[in-house]
């Protein structure tokens, strides 16, 4: 039997190891599935590289170079082996190492997604609270209407509309792209995070230009996420409000706002964290349509282009990045929920194997 100090030490360590193992297994499964799916797609990857007009000899050479003349399990095995050495392969569409492609594309998406989720959480939580303050009231109806709109209007259309109004008509926003062309190529260091890069340039004009290009897509994505956050949080708040302790608090004369803020919100914080994590990870998958309309060189566009070209190395690389961020965010959310909500800790202790 272990001593108390051993349990204190090994307990959390084992927990972390178990989580890491689960994560690795999940990613392995994800990669295998993606690999098989991309091979099952009715697209000939050789044709995509060699082209429609190429001769038979060229076709055969490309097929060999892509390793497609080998059996499927061997292809996957080789990929995983190289992955262990940190080699993600070379994209057949960009002819660049997938790792360097991703190092450019992912920060662009990460930047958009992070600003959007921060904005969406602040506004989303505020709107949900306002809405739950007086369910069925005019404010609640307005908020529900607004979030329904965010849910159902195609983002592509909204993006074009935004460009027309704020870029073309009012000149409040920059056009498609991360910076005006005059500035884009005067940046020396490129980390992919456009605000950081323009900040480091030390030129206030470039920074201002970057912000003018950034705010519209951020606002758009924030609106979409906010719609989901508001709706789910509002529902959770209202459900919680029906519970007995709320009735008791009200009977004791507590104000509605105080009840919501001090009692109900902490109780739904677990839901809130999960909803935020899910929203954030869906933003990190890359908002393909937004990135297309705003000519934003993010991971969503990278993955779509790769999919259409059956560029397996790029598809697997992008899947790995998106999958890892999804798993990591979920783990983070799980841990946060454990911290915030004592009830979930109890569940964890009672059924350790279920987590």
């Amino acid at each position: 039997m272990r001593s108390v100090s051993e349990r204190l030490l090994f307990g959390p360590l084992w927990g972390v190891a178990r989580k890491l193992l689960t994560m690795l297994l999940t990613l392995l499964l994800l990669l295998t599935l993606t690999f098989l799916l991309s091979r099952m797609a009715p697209i000939d990857p050789v044709l995509q590289v060699a082209g429609d007009h190429a001769s038979q000899q060229t076709y055969a050479q490309v097929s060999h170079e892509l390793g497609l003349d080998q059996p499927l399990p061997l292809q996957l095995g080789r990929y995983l082996l190289r992955l262990l050495h940190g080699d993600l392969g070379v994209s057949s569409t960009t002819a660049q190492p997938v790792a360097s492609d991703l190092a450019r594309a992912f920060p662009a998406t990460l930047e958009l997604a992070t600003y959007a989720i921060v904005l969406a959480s602040v506004c989303g939580v505020a709107l949900a609270l306002l809405s739950a303050l007086k369910p069925g009231g005019w404010l609640d109806n307005l908020v529900r209407c607004f979030s329904l709109l965010g849910y159902s209007v195609p983002v592509f259309w909204l993006g074009l509309l935004g460009l027309l109004l704020f870029y073309a008509r009012l000149h409040w926003a920059g056009g498609p792209g991360q910076l005006d062309d005059a500035y884009l190529y005067s940046l020396n260091e490129r980390s992919g995070f456009i605000l950081l890069d323009s900040w480091r340039s030390g030129d206030a004009e470039i920074l201002r230009n970057a912000v003018s290009h950034l705010w519209l897509p951020v606002l758009l994505l924030a609106m979409l996420s906010m719609a989901g956050i508001t709706r789910l949080l509002r529902a959770a708040l209202l459900e919680e409000c029906g519970k007995e302790y709320v009735t008791l608090a009200r009977a004791k004369g507590a104000g509605r706002w105080r009840i919501l803020w001090r009692h109900v919100l902490p109780n739904v914080s677990g839901t809130l964290v999960t909803v935020l994590a899910l929203s954030y990870s869906s933003l990190l998958e890359g908002a393909v349509l937004t990135e297309t309309v705003f000519a934003w060189p993010g991971i969503g566009r990278y993955l779509t282009t790769a999919l259409f070209a059956s560029d397996v190395a790029a598809i697997l690389g992008a899947t790995l990045v998106i999958g890892s961020s999804f798993v990591l965010l979920n783990m983070l959310a799980d841990s946060l929920v454990l911290l915030l909500d004592p009830r979930s800790r109890q569940a964890d202790i009672a059924h350790p194997s279920s987590r």
């Binding site: 044709l47 027309l164 792209g177």
Partner: protein, 524 residues
């Protein structure tokens, strides 16, 4: 019915009230908005997409070049002169002794030998253009020879006229690369292939400053180019994947040229101040290709004949996709030597019905594979309606372009609405696609249509050996007539390249072939 993307009415109504453009591109920089997602490599031995071939004319030079105003005329580029060898199977080129690459290296015969031989050795997509001369990785070093530092001799084993060979040498794949520069960046004996994928080593009026895939291609002027210093200092070709966004950038003055616009976008730009919409003749043909092996009915020439009368040429060109197409019914595009311009077919469903009845064909259902993008899907929908009136039921099978071409190459289709662009400026490029199906496995268009044509194969090969240009043109006219009269191809439309430029732009030149784009004379 005309299909309009849902953004268009909105664009039209909102932009109508736009303020005059505030933004302007830098005075010494040309900003081009287009999609560059098609790029594979900026190595001329590999690049074979619109974005890359359009760049090659500005980055590299060839020995000879087609006159862009009159492409049927060849003119010297890096070669000062050339003469036919005594065996009539070789050409001797004298190079321009003053020519230098952007790196400062002198251009010599070694560079020519290196550049042409590496295309064959690397064996990438466009290599067939040169290897059809009989050049292989094994023999190419003996067939392309340095005579002295300024003289090169090229020989070939194919029975081909010098005129044909010169035409091949004017293709982007025959660009002359700085061998010292390329070899200095060689990795694993790749002849500089990897490095040249995103760098340039040529003598053209521009050089690559940076290329970021899916983002931008930036070119700097090369003032020492033998073709002369360009007027502008740099070019930014910016990836804007969405056509409506490209149009917006141009209207706002944030781009000087917007490429690949749709017919809707071009119509919306008409009459806008500061903008000039252009519909430039383009050597791309749109046609219906029937898989004659799919069923006995589809292999019946009577069905092919009926299909010719069921294609509503005028309506598609003049009403559905106004300005984007002209009616064209032969396999050589308008602008090519020997191209047939006559239009023997028109939409006549009654005639088609009669032809089908006479052949005993009834209740035909045609599964038409088609790219799900405009204009393909729009045309396919029009065909669905026009074929129905002739008693042929058309089912559309839309898919992404990669999916459609995979199916076609696997012969897993009934019919496909597709397009074909020439690979170099010579009639053989399309003859070898539409009227050539050798039994050795080369997957030409005729092969994809399951069409076996030993006699046409012979005529197609014979035509490249004819030395007299007039006789050669006549041979291609005969081939076109045969394909037009009876083949599983219903050629209906020739595209125009729809672009728009700012009105202050001067000196932009674009020719009929996809690669014929020149930025060196552009000023604003």
């Amino acid at each position: 019915m005309k299909k309009i993307s849902y953004s268009m009415p909105l664009l039209a109504s909102l932009t109508a009230f736009c303020y005059p453009a505030l933004a302007a591109t830098p005075a010494n920089t040309l900003v081009i908005a287009q999609s560059i997602d098609d790029t594979s490599s900026f190595d001329p031995a590999q690049g074979f997409e619109l974005t890359t071939v359009q760049a090659f004319n500005n980055l590299y030079q060839r020995l000879v070049q087609a006159d862009v105003q009159n492409p049927q005329r060849l003119q010297p580029d890096l070669a000062l002169s050339w003469q036919l060898g005594k065996d009539k199977r070789s050409l001797i080129f004298k190079l321009n002794p003053k020519a230098r690459f952007a790196s400062g290296n002198a251009l010599t015969a070694d560079d020519v030998v290196f550049s042409l031989a590496r295309v064959v050795k690397l064996n990438q997509e466009p290599s067939f253009i040169l290897s059809q001369l009989g050049w292989t990785a094994q023999n190419v070093d003996s067939l392309i020879r340095r005579v002295d530092s300024q003289t090169v001799q090229l020989s070939w084993t194919l029975d081909a006229s010098a005129d044909f060979v010169l035409r091949l040498l004017s293709a982007p794949v025959a660009s002359i690369v700085d061998s010292k520069e390329a070899l200095a960046h060689q990795q694993d004996n790749d002849l500089g292939h990897q490095w040249l994928g995103s760098h340039s080593a040529g003598s053209g009026p521009f050089r690559i400053r940076s290329y970021v895939p899916h983002e931008a291609l930036v070119l700097d002027a090369n003032p020492s180019s033998p073709r002369g210093a360009p007027k502008l200092k740099s070019i930014v070709i910016k990836n804007v994947p969405d056509a409506a966004a490209r149009r917006l950038l141009l209207e706002q003055g944030d781009a000087d040229i917007a490429r690949n616009l749709g017919a809707d976008q071009l119509a919306g730009l008409a009459g806008k101040p500061g903008v000039k919409p252009l519909a430039i003749p383009f050597a791309s043909l749109y046609f219906l290709q029937i898989n004659s092996k799919a069923s006995p009915a589809l292999g019946n020439p009577a069905f092919w004949e009926a299909a010719r009368w069921l294609f509503d040429y005028q309506k598609i060109a003049n009403q559905l996709l106004q300005g984007q197409f002209q009616v064209h019914q032969s396999f050589l595009p308008d602008g090519y030597p020997g191209a047939l311009k006559d239009q023997p077919y028109r939409y006549d469903p009654d005639k088609a019905r009669a032809i089908l009845a006479r052949a005993g064909l009834s209740n035909i259902t045609l599964k038409l594979s088609v790219n799900n993008q405009p204009p393909y899907l729009d045309i396919a929908q029009a065909l669905q309606a026009s074929f129905a009136k002739g008693g042929v039921k058309v089912e559309l099978l839309p898919g992404i372009s990669a999916q459609v071409s995979t199916k076609v190459k696997a012969l897993d289709y009934d019919a496909v609405l597709t397009s074909w662009g020439p690979d170099y400026f010579d009639p053989h490029t399309n003859a070898s696609a539409f009227a050539y199906n050798p039994e050795n496995g080369s997957k030409t268009l005729a092969w994809r249509a399951g069409w076996h044509i030993p006699e046409l194969n012979r005529q197609t090969l014979a035509a490249i050996a004819i030395a007299d240009p007039a006789k050669r043109a006549a041979a291609y006219q005969k081939l076109q007539k045969t394909v037009q009269k009876s083949s599983p191809f219903v050629i209906g439309l020739q595209a125009r390249s729809l672009i728009a430029v700012r009105s202050n732009l001067k000196g932009y030149v674009q020719g009929v072939n996809p690669d014929m784009v020149f930025y060196d004379k552009v000023s604003k």
